[in-house]
Symmetry: C2
Amino acid sequence: MESTPASPSDRIRIAVDGMGGDDAPAAIVAGAIEAADIYGDRLAPVLVGREDRLREEIRRAGGESLNLEIVHANQEIGMEESGAGSYRKKRDSSLAVATRLVRERRVDGVFSAGNTGAMVAASLLNIGRIPGVNRPALATLIPTSGSPAWAIMLDAGATADCKPLNLFQFAVLGEVYARILLDTERPRVGLLNIGEESSKGNELAQESHELLKKRANFVGNVEGRDVLAGKTDVVVTDGFTGNVMLKFAESVWAWTLSMVKAEVGEHVLAKVGGLLLKPSLKRLKDRMDYSEYGGAPLLGVNGISIIGHGRSNAKAVRNGIRFAVDLVESGLMEEIRAELERDQGGKVVNS
Amino acid sequence: MESTPASPSDRIRIAVDGMGGDDAPAAIVAGAIEAADIYGDRLAPVLVGREDRLREEIRRAGGESLNLEIVHANQEIGMEESGAGSYRKKRDSSLAVATRLVRERRVDGVFSAGNTGAMVAASLLNIGRIPGVNRPALATLIPTSGSPAWAIMLDAGATADCKPLNLFQFAVLGEVYARILLDTERPRVGLLNIGEESSKGNELAQESHELLKKRANFVGNVEGRDVLAGKTDVVVTDGFTGNVMLKFAESVWAWTLSMVKAEVGEHVLAKVGGLLLKPSLKRLKDRMDYSEYGGAPLLGVNGISIIGHGRSNAKAVRNGIRFAVDLVESGLMEEIRAELERDQGGKVVNS
């Protein structure tokens, strides 16, 4: 930033769940330190978790001089615990305390790489829903070969059982998010389905299709290949299908690259080729790398809540915190509220 | 085959929908000719469709000497027509006539690369269901990095809306199919879900999990990476999720390879590497190539019904016809009937 550093009170404060994630608290603390170090003029991470553990990690990482704020939380929720259940049982878990800080307006947003189900429950109950939204959705990015180079897919796993009204609301949320993130004036919205005709799909897809027709920028049903080809900016589906599909695609992606590598190893000639190919594969990998954005926003809750990948490393955490700040500054929340009120669809949304 | 050629009456007769598929009738007729030419001692394709068109294609392909049997059908169903609806409207479509030949026992099985929805409807109504099965499932193969090198996934798109009982029956069908196709004594059966715990997933997944526990070889919930890692031999899911997931994965796969190629083109050094890599990528592609098996059986109907890819070329059609014969000879239908009667789960199946 070219401007003079902001005073501490101008900085955007992001609660960071220090105990959530496969490599917590080490990777989380390291990421928060990086964020404070690099973007300290814009943001202030507030670490939430067991104070002694967090202080120890800060010391270990040599970040004491940054004077990171810590808010103590007695409990933590493991990655394999049941989502909503563990949240209810552990009212003093780090993610419960972190989301409460948002409600109390002591921070401007929250980031957690912890248990997704528990974080969804905590965000819903502590931050609350935006009026006009019944269920929240996790919005993830899918790379495309078109322009813009990304599409937004929601729900990626926050609401497993959806009704048509939920998918309609996801379309509104996704559209506003796309306007901001993809910088497109009129994002196209598609419904993930098993065929192009409106009569295709399961009952949910068929009924959602009818509802979505009320939105001017609805482009109809899309299949996986349409999404990758960039035929839509936003694709909506229920959280079960979205999650299963994304995880399977991630695995196919990783497996394909590993097979390419394995095949390369088979022959000496190919091996030479493989060595030369390495920088290209690296660039390819970067493009798919979740750590670039650091997390997915939980849209529909009344504040910025970013859920990072469980496997988040320090870089992913740093980027997740910065992404939370970007979204606070973008006015996303205000635009979502305005869109829900403004749009014709408002009638549907509130029905 | 080492044995003496079978007499014509011993040959297995497969009705082939001559008018279904993106490249029908040319690719279908060419595939049927290849099948008759190569496997003529075992099988006899029976081409179904507009007689003049089919005779013309046979002539064009130089296959007149094979004396392929033709059964005339007045109508055809396009790939983009609505599935069940188009079947009902066109009672004399090629796939309707072809499936009726199975019911009338004039053939031992049927192959179509045509409209999947219409073929599912035609198979259900003309061939009928196996007692104890409420809804059918398309069973596809997914390559794994384990042993066996394939897993069976069902339903890939025959039944978009499923109840827990449907998924339970799919597990029984998939298990018998895996015993035969993967040659494993006790196939492991997993439920596609968004997490390992039984409490995870949407309502359908949670209730199906409870029901599936009644089967001794149920290994619990599996995610995409588990399937690819070979942690299960059979994975069950509803036809909507299965279809969306498979199509998306196919696209990711194709896209990854095209990106590898595009990246390779970027630099001269990498280009050299890419040229050397080509034979390896070819082998990789072959492994994913649907034309190797030629189609997926529609399990749960009372006869062998193979649905091929719409993009089937002659090789895929030839293999699809041969695959139908393999399944007739394998005793799959008898084993499915026996399993439905034998198993403890029979109580559940028939409830």
